[in-house]
């Protein structure tokens, strides 16, 4: 009975609609005009929301980039102090052997200290002297040694030399330490600031481009700490990741897309791959610890273990992206190849894969960029570590860029704040480069059908 009633209702409604359809529409009627106006307004609103969303995203990006950039750009420059160093023959090479081994062992630190004492002869107290010596970084003596080793003719002369300054002095020169604060509450006392003023008025304080930041490994002295060790570590780690995850990922995608029968087993595999892409990365770290370190006894902190662990993490990303790219190759290409007598393997290797390659590469590079920014799984396998030496291979202890950022962000020294931001800039530059490469590859090889 109710069915009957609803049927009648539907009929009545249909009649109303068809009656209306048969009536010519009066496009100038106020009702239609109102309707059209409303539609245009809705459209404008929708566009505005979209624009606003992009605006918010851009603003966030600018604030982030701005705060990192404004804090970090000073790290690319370092304060140097000019001192008059006497390369005393008796202090460096008393027996006049000219032997590099003898010269290398000389006390260059002593030469710098002597120069500082000569520059400020009024300093006598023990604590005062310590403060005075901290103007110049502990690393300056190595520079001096290198200079003399390269040019032994310097011995016996007196030269004005630019020396890298200590971190507190550098912070003062960059304006991060203010002389207006009460003496007890700042890192430098009045006397040290007076020394700075004296040197500054002589023109003996200067900011120079900080090449060490790009060539050194980590250090506890902010002015000697560099990003190169971590960058090399990242490079080795990503090489291992790529060498492992790219072939495995592409082969898995090809099999699943082109050859696998559609049955329950492949369905389960597919679901698992999609799930793996969403697993938190720390889980892969625990897996790496258990399998690579505890069972296979690979060395701790080594990029090879980091690379193996990150490869597990990037595999799902690469498989999913590759499958999508393979799926996007039109079936007509396969049919044409098969029709002309190519075997299924030939069809895949000669036609499908080359055509899918831009998409596969884009997915791979995005996966790699993700791996580059990862720290959590590396914590478990010992790559969150203080490592001074630049790694010489994938089995040497190493750390990676994001870990370096984390370690510097956690250091108490004031000067590490700018180093942290600078390291973030280096990491971002790497990421932009990799993503740029992905865009370029896509543009270069992309085919339209």
């Amino acid at each position: 009975m109710t069915d009957m009633a609803s049927l009648m209702e539907d009929r009545a409604a249909a009649k109303v609609i068809s009656d209306n359809l048969h009536k010519p529409v009066d496009w100038d009627s106020p009702k239609i005009a109102r309707n059209i106006k409303k539609r245009y307004a809705a459209e404008r609103r929708f566009k505005f929301y979209g624009l606003a969303a992009i605006g918010v995203a851009l603003l966030a990006l600018f604030v982030l980039a701005g705060s990192i950039g404004s804090k970090g750009y000073t790290a690319f420059f370092q304060t140097y102090v000019q001192l008059e160093i006497t390369f005393d023959q008796d202090a460096i090479d008393p027996d006049r052997t000219g032997d590099p081994a003898v010269i290398g062992k000389a006390n260059f630190d002593g030469l710098i200290k002597q120069a500082l004492r000569e520059r400020f002869p009024q300093v006598t107290g023990r604590q005062e002297k310590r403060d005075l010596y901290s103007i110049v970084s502990g690393g300056a003596s190595y520079d001096l040694r290198e200079r003399v080793m390269e040019n032994p003719g310097l011995i016996g002369q007196t030269r004005k030399v630019w020396l890298i300054s200590g971190d507190d002095f550098d912070m003062l020169n960059k304006g991060y330490i203010s002389a207006d604060v009460e003496e007890g509450n700042r890192r430098l006392n009045d006397e040290e600031i007076a020394w700075y003023d004296a040197l500054k008025s002589d023109g003996a304080v200067e900011k120079q481009f900080h090449t060490r930041f790009f060539t050194n490994g980590d250090s506890r002295e902010p002015e000697l700490a560099g990003i190169w060790g971590a960058a090399v570590g990242s490079l080795y780690t990503l090489m291992v990741t790529l060498a492992l995850s790219f072939p495995i990922g592409v082969l898995a995608a090809v099999y699943l897309e082109e050859f696998a029968p559609k049955n329950r087993f492949t369905q389960i595999v597919e679901v698992n791959i999609n799930n793996l892409a969403a697993v938190p990365s720390i889980v892969f770290g625990l897996l790496g610890l258990e399998v690579y370190l505890n069972v296979m006894h690979l060395p701790r902190s080594a990029p090879v273990v980091g690379g193996l662990t990150l490869a597990l993490m990037t595999l799902p990303t690469i498989i999913i992206a590759s499958r999508a790219a393979i799926k996007a190759v039109p079936p007509s290409i396969r049919q044409a190849a098969l029709g002309l007598g190519a075997s299924p393997v030939q069809t895949v290797t000669h036609h499908v894969l080359p055509l899918a390659m831009p998409g596969i590469l884009t997915g791979t590079i995005i996966g790699m960029a993700q791996a580059l920014g990862e720290t959590a799984p590396l914590l478990m396998i010992g790559m969150v570590a203080f490592i001074v030496d630049i790694p010489g291979g994938a089995l040497d202890p190493a750390t990676v860029l994001p870990v370096q950022i984390y370690l510097w962000a956690d250091s108490p020294e004031r000067a590490f704040v700018e180093k942290t931001s600078a390291a973030i800039m280096v990491l971002l530059a790497f990421l932009v480069l990799m993503n740029g490469l992905a865009v370029y590859l896509r543009k270069k090889f992309e085919r339209k059908w």
Binding site: Y236, V384, E413
Partner: protein, 343 residues
């Protein structure tokens, strides 16, 4: 073919640095000791012919776990700790074959409660800090236990400023938090009669009350990064932060430490043991590795030299608070003889 060759070449470059036997000291452990150990390691690497040790920041507990996993190249040689090794950990060690351990105490670290120096400097007692931060506190009449109801400092004591209680501090996984709980909250809670009574009647509840930190937003877990807390205190003049002394030392132009029990957190006060919230820092050496891994004794000797941990040593510049000369000498001698720890 070309590609295969290129890949092979790349791989051989990557694996060229294969280390045969380990010739580098491996250190794990506390993130509080990390800045000191790394400074020593760097100096050690520069002044000796040994390789610079690799130091991981794993936290005290994590470090001891790795350290006690066994003897042999794949296990670390030294672990740093911001607390003393526990009896259970010594037992785990022994079970895994790590029988002889040398304990080296390196100095002290103060934990400070500090705020922006543009705000008022507080003089607090441990009891007041307990009332501000504990999850459960004695009620106004002192007879029963209730959820923490204090929202401003002046409610705790009228002499304190009328400012909302807002304290940024480390999460429970941190050694700093452990030490703060042990040295401030657990000590203070015994001073309240109603909680002290609980100790006799209900031990579990007593422990929970004494170590429980409020979760209603007045105590904010700010992560392990102390620099982050420093930055937040600069921005928010009403907030307080809990962190290690070295961060106050580096940021003395922006922050001030609150007095606790009338003593300000200064280098001298912590060193003299007058400042009540300080803890000892340690590292532990695996005796079985001495002689196998090159440079271990030299590292210990560098760490325990006056040039490093002395009153004017480079570790003091980084915020480590040294022991007095007598204790330093005793620890140095014990360390150089590798006298094993017994508990």
């Amino acid at each position: 073919m070309k590609k295969t060759l290129a890949v092979a070449a790349l791989m051989s470059v990557a694996f060229a640095g294969a280390a045969q036997a380990r010739d580098q000291i491996r250190i794990v452990g506390s993130s509080t000791v990390f800045p000191f150990a790394t400074a020593v390691a760097e100096e050690f690497g520069k002044t000796t012919s040994f390789k610079t040790p690799v130091i991981e920041s794993t936290g005290s507990g994590g470090g001891l776990k790795l350290f006690c996993a066994g003897v042999g190249e794949q296990n670390p040689d030294i672990t740093n700790a911001s607390r003393r090794i526990k009896k259970s950990e010594v037992e785990t060690c022994a079970k895994n074959g790590v029988e002889e351990i040398t304990e080296v105490k390196i100095g002290y670290d103060g934990i400070v409660l500090s705020n922006s120096n543009e705000a008022e400097q507080l003089d607090l007692t441990k009891e007041q800090i307990f009332l501000a931060l504990a999850k459960i506190v004695p009620s106004k009449d002192g007879k029963s236990l209730v959820d923490n109801f204090y929202s401003t400092w002046s409610e705790i004591d009228p002499s304190l400023p009328d400012v909302k209680i807002e304290v940024l501090g480390p999460p429970p996984t941190s050694g700093t938090r452990d030490a703060f709980t042990e040295l401030v909250l657990e000590e203070a809670c015994e001073e309240f009669p109603v909680i002290a009574e609980l100790e006799k009647s209900n031990k579990d509840k007593f422990k929970a009350v004494c170590a429980g930190v409020r979760e209603d937003g007045a105590y904010i877990e700010a992560g392990e990064n102390d620099n982050l807390i420093v930055q937040k205190l600069e921005a928010n003049k009403d907030a307080f932060g809990i962190f290690g002394f070295s961060f106050l030392d580096q940021n003395g132009d922006k922050l001030q430490g609150s007095l606790i029990g009338g003593v300000a957190p200064t280098f001298e006060a912590i060193s003299a043991g007058e400042y009540p919230v300080s803890r000892s820092l340690y590292f532990y050496v695996k005796n079985a590795h001495v002689g196998t891994i090159p440079g271990m004794m030299e590292y210990v000797s560098e760490f325990t030299s006056d040039k490093a941990w002395g009153e004017e040593g480079y570790l003091a510049d980084r915020g480590l608070i040294p022991m007095d000369a007598k204790e330093r000498e005793a620890v140095h001698n014990a360390a150089m003889n590798l006298s094993p720890l017994s508990m």
